[in-house]
Amino acid sequence: MSTTAHVRGALVAFTAFSMGILGFPGLDHRSVDWLQDPEDRQDAPLNALLAADFQHHVRRPITSALSHLERPLRLAQSWNLYGVGPNRMVRFELWVDDELWFRAADPEHTYRKSFLRYRRIRPVVVHTCLDQSRHSERLVELMVEDVRAEKPDAHEVVVRCTSTPWPGDGDGMEIVRWTAEAPTWKPSQ
């Protein structure tokens, strides 16, 4: 075997090991301190305790070291998809002078729908309704700029989110409200 073959074999083994430890199924969504509190451990089953100790004492130091390799190319990924479903239907809405311009999943009010549903914008929209990311205010400012370009004589823009039980056919309860008014157009909650 050539030196190249040995180097290749070693690198493939390292990569496979890294992938296995970084994406270890069943542990990737657990915190590093999962079941480390003595009170939590009392009633935990043995297999969970073993997994938690493996997570804390073996996986954590390795993933911590490997994260330095992942960061420059942003390779770290999580596939904890849909662990908690949306227990209520939350809708993003845009109102201009008391007129509804956009409402999520409403085929009659679709202003800037393509933009707001785009996969790179959607996380900001969702966070605006659920937990107010630091980009939320900026999204509201963007919507205000768009509306003013579309309707220069507008007086008030409201971005709000409503929540209804499934299947969401009733009036929603308002959970978030941003208002921007002329002449300052500064969004406020």
């Binding site: 690198l11 190319l73 942003r74 999943a105």
Partner: protein, 295 residues
């Protein structure tokens, strides 16, 4: 007994270096950049160019101030990275002498786009970058790939996807309300969620047992994903294809289902080769069946 580790290592080297038909790997090299290209063009036609690529002072959503961002804070940083990616992707697909340098450029510029605008850098972007990184070192990306090349990129891709699907399945066990819930199924909620789903929640609510069945099939598929590492993998992959087509139809997730499907030529290995053999008369000569005759 002392020879055992050496034998294992020799077998490992033989396994990772075993020659296989290069065409499925080259097909992934074409399809992954194609998906990235489509998604980057979607930034324009979805009207998100300034929101995603420009700094806050010029209409952007973020200031791109990540420590790793090389061009954060300058107005031309985002457009430059976008232009680099859009230029490099077709070169990667075309291959040849510029193929590998273009692949390295695409990988770095695409990662920089993620640093510039973190909210839009999703798991699929990271998965595709991981694949680009593997392919950067693969013979499938060389200037003139041989018809038979080392199999290790295909093995690592299968291994990676087993991790992805298994984790996605395990999380669903403790999901609330759950994919196996008969009265308010989580699959129903996802497919009719206002921001991402395409189904009308009121119309589909009485058909909840359908979503229960869908949840059972999805979880069964995800938990059986280790089959990808066996000779049954190509048959499993048909289920995966159907699942991702279902996601593409039921949800507005942009590149995600297509990015995943771009990896499937490797998972569907023998079938991919059969299709390429059948299409050989209409394809360039380099995409023809490998020559097995002794040289």
């Amino acid at each position: 007994m002392e020879a055992l580790p050496v034998n294992l290592w020799t077998r490992w080297l033989a396994f990772t270096g075993r020659p296989v038909d290069s065409r499925p790997l080259r097909l992934v090299r074409v399809l992954v950049p194609l998906c990235i290209l489509g998604d980057l063009l979607a930034i324009v036609w979805r009207g998100a160019f300034s929101a995603v690529l420009l700094p806050e002072s010029m209409g952007g959503l973020t200031d791109g101030s990540s420590w790793w961002s090389l061009v954060g804070g300058v107005w031309w940083g985002g457009p430059l990275l976008w232009a680099l990616c859009v230029t490099a992707a077709p070169l990667v697909m075309r291959g040849g002498r510029l193929g590998r340098p273009a692949l390295a450029t695409l990988l770095v510029a695409y990662a920089q786009l993620g640093h510039l605008y973190p909210p839009g850098d999703r798991a699929i972007d990271r998965l595709l970058r991981t694949v680009l990184l593997l392919w950067l070192f693969s013979e499938a990306s060389s200037a003139r790939p041989a018809s038979r090349i080392a199999a290790w990129p295909a093995d690592l891709l299968r291994w990676l996807l087993v991790m992805v699907y298994l984790q996605a399945g395990i999380v669903k066990i403790g999901a609330k309300p759950g994919f196996l819930h008969l009265h308010m199924n989580e699959l129903y909620q996802i497919l009719s969620a206002p921001q991402v789903g395409r189904l009308d929640p009121v119309f589909w609510e009485p058909l909840m047992p359908l979503f229960f069945l869908g949840g059972v099939v999805t979880m069964a598929l995800e938990f059986s994903s280790p089959l990808l590492l066996t000779r049954f993998g190509p048959y499993w992959a048909f289920g995966g294809v159907l699942m991702h087509i279902g996601i593409a139809i039921g949800m507005d997730l942009g590149m995600f289902p297509f990015g995943m499907l771009a990896l499937y030529p490797v998972l569907l290995w023998p079938f991919t080769i059969r299709v390429l053999d059948a299409l050989a008369p209409w394809l360039p000569e380099s995409w023809g069946p490998p020559d097995y005759s002794p040289s």
